[in-house]
Symmetry: C3
Subunit: 210 residues, 3 copies
Amino acid sequence: MFDVNLTTLIDYLGTFAFAISGIRLASAKNFDWFGAYIVGLATAIGGGTIRDLLLGLTPFWMLQPSYLVVTAVALIFVIVFGRYVIRLSNTFFIFDTIGLGLFVVVGIERSLGAGFPFWVAIIMGMITGSAGGVMRDIFINEEPLIFRKDIYALACIFGGLIFFASDWTGLPQLITQVLTISSVILVRILSVKYHISLPILKGSENEKQD
Amino acid sequence: MFDVNLTTLIDYLGTFAFAISGIRLASAKNFDWFGAYIVGLATAIGGGTIRDLLLGLTPFWMLQPSYLVVTAVALIFVIVFGRYVIRLSNTFFIFDTIGLGLFVVVGIERSLGAGFPFWVAIIMGMITGSAGGVMRDIFINEEPLIFRKDIYALACIFGGLIFFASDWTGLPQLITQVLTISSVILVRILSVKYHISLPILKGSENEKQD
Amino acid sequence: MFDVNLTTLIDYLGTFAFAISGIRLASAKNFDWFGAYIVGLATAIGGGTIRDLLLGLTPFWMLQPSYLVVTAVALIFVIVFGRYVIRLSNTFFIFDTIGLGLFVVVGIERSLGAGFPFWVAIIMGMITGSAGGVMRDIFINEEPLIFRKDIYALACIFGGLIFFASDWTGLPQLITQVLTISSVILVRILSVKYHISLPILKGSENEKQD
């Protein structure tokens, strides 16, 4: 059920960190264990699921149960270690960011494998990395965080551009993958460290929904 | 347009009860008739639609219009009988619960028919039974009820396990179906009657979204 | 990348107007540029995406990047012209309504092309025209506007009925398209001008979610 190599190890660590992020936000809403599990799962596999539906493929987690198991481990982890998890925020930020980089690579390669052009692949890399967080925020009934704060989805797009620049240069696949993941991590860390974010689109009262 | 046998009768009763649940919650939000119809429809067919998209099948309600008609009847019922519907809560709870059991069986059998393994089928049984309610709560802009209250999705999973235990034992299909539906109904009724629910995952202020 | 003929011109104007509507509502929520872009995109292409997933087709915007470009232009337009956009409300209402009519025709024809019967096609016409607005409202965390206000989705369904009446009469395709678009525009304008809307479904406190 679990393959063991570096890619899958990073994949599971990323899944674990994404799931933890969902489970923690669900706990702030006093969801029960089941609700927290589903929110964790949506965070971890939601992006890849939307990607696979758009690409016309069977969602990846329906082909092997390991992602469900990793999310269950994340839930047990939060139940057992509770508030201590908060102290590990930096550790999870690292996992989460490495996972984000890998998710981008997985999304791009899966799209190219399905015969789509590079600009679709870049979008799918971004969706793989960030749509799970949007699904999480819809489930907990909040405005999606990535629409208001931080460079997150843009880090995925930047990574996607690096992927194709590297690929176009003729670099070997492994180098392309490492460069892509590194660039996602770099942009994400720099933007958080230096509080770099996109401008807010200013609205006025007149523009309210009704 | 309407087949008549016990399975489809239960199917339509379940659809009707699910639709009523959506329409009533939409009315509490002062949605108009159209909004109430769509929320009723999402509640009744949303789970099966998500299931079919994940399985790569054409959504079941696109193959025959009866589900749209049953939901329209439910809307007319609420418009005509209004507040009296509330007094029938227990009746609808029974319909809803029997429908839930049947939806689980339908979801499992449809997944197996599409060639997926048993653990995917159990998840699809749960999605068929409970994702419509989540879609309903997203449409009315509330935190999904099943993430916070009662044993609902877990009753579906329990039913799924009974299905495979029964199937593995070699019992005839009809017995397996009846056992599955009965076990979903039993778990659901016991959990409501004795207020059995999953533990809440405790959060802290620090875990807020931002 | 951009075809030039009347249909595509209307298509891009409609996409532009739909995107503006999403971007303006995102700005009222103080989303950043990226968030506003995604909400604009969801409004413009969300309906067609859901339609294509239900029909089992590759989402239309993955086949050519023009819709992403038009939405980017809409974002730049709002960033540059800001509050002045509000004064153009009537202009956008016209674009939006013409776009709505065209989206209905596109949705119907794409469904028939995929082999579905007329009642599915009418629903897909409605989904093409109105599901993007629902997605927009979920992203900005509001109750969907079309569930509470105005004749919007019903204008799409009326247009769909006109399409099939015209088609059944044996009128040429172009006439059928023009009649459909005109009838959607007419119903929409009349309902807004004379404040015609569907009855609200009255609820009571007892019907609250929990």
